[in-house]
Symmetry: C2
Subunit: 195 residues, 2 copies
DNA sequence: GTCTATAGCGTGATAGAC
DNA sequence: GTCTATCACGCTATAGAC
């Protein structure tokens, strides 16, 4: 089958996702036009519709694949020491959030721009991730290594604290990632009463 | 001076601000039209421009007045015990955030939709508030009551943790505000090494 | 202060050529 | 798969009547 003029299907798809993610994160879904995305990619707006049925599906795909990537990347070791598992989680969450800061930002800022059905699916994935942390806290409490009044609230509090790194982190700043992980692990360990 | 037909200047201004705040917080600044705000208030879109020069100024006014209200509401007692001051801050921040959740959400979600000049002014106000907490932590460290590696990061971490309450809190939920304050104070106290 | 009407422009999405 | 052209609509903001 002969290639049609100017076709670059193998790279255009990923480029659309990359630029859309970046633009949505920086300006907000509603503020970004399909023309703007197309311009960043280097195609005309009409060409985008060969890859996505509409703008909403593009947003949902970005958020869903991010949540699936996050869940797939987190590898718990349920048999290990709960404190060690918590330290792993803290360092993992910070590292993943900084490596995918646009997707992280998108996935908790643009929930409101999803259709109700799409919203429910993302919320479900998010809930699974929160449960992963909550289970660590419950195991830590049960084993007497952690002291937390309310594991559910502690889960939300810790995730909010850790994700907050993306709000101020700048590449090449005062602290490197290892050091940031150390500091946040110290805060988290204290918060769960295991200082 | 005779009143013109249908004029309700005394209440329209606040109503515009109230509805704009609510709509911006729920749907995002870019996704809300001036017509939508006007409709919620009960006037035609053109009438809004008697109260604001444009949409951007309306957003900025909402954010700036929120930050000023926040700074005015926080009353530190520099002479008191640093731990007591931290507890006060924790309970204050959660209470204020829940009482003004739309404004809180707006003020950290829509920074990207401000002009650079307006952005700098909001960032300055936010910085002052962060400094208020940072000073408590520094005093706590100096007095040997707190153990924190990096007061700057601990400040960002604590504020992110506390503000996160607005993400999941629902009126009439499992926990009342007092109890939520107790739990978060426990987490914060532990995080700063004062459990 | 509020209304109606509208200018001027940008939007998401589609049709049809290549 | 990409382009050009376009439809139909919504947007911010303004003008002028009352």
């Amino acid at each position: 089958m002969a290639r049609t003029q100017g076709s670059r299907a193998d790279i255009t798809g990923p480029l659309i996702r990359d630029h859309a993610r970046r633009l949505f994160a920086r300006q907000g879904y509603a503020a970004v036009s399909m023309r703007q995305i197309a311009s960043a990619v280097g195609v005309q707006a009409g060409a985008l519709y060969a890859y996505t049925p509409d703008k909403q599906a593009l947003l949902f795909d970005l958020m869903e694949s991010h949540m699936r990537d996050l869940l797939a990347a987190w590898q718990d070791e349920p048999a290990a020491d709960p404190l060690q598992r918590l330290e792993n989680f803290v360092r993992f969450h910070i590292g993943f959030s900084l490596d995918h800061s646009d997707a992280v930002f998108l996935s908790y800022m643009e929930l409101r721009n999803l259709t109700p059905d799409n919203h429910a699916r993302i919320a479900d994935l998010r809930g699974r991730y929160e449960t992963a942390l909550e289970n660590i806290l419950r195991d830590g409490i049960e084993s007497g290594m952690m002291f937390v009044d309310d594991p559910k609230l502690a889960t939300m509090a810790l995730i909010a604290m850790l994700t907050g790194v993306t709000n101020w982190y700048r590449e090449g700043g005062r602290l490197d990632r290892q050091r940031i992980g150390d500091i946040y692990w110290g805060l988290a360990r204290g918060a769960v009463g295991a200082a």
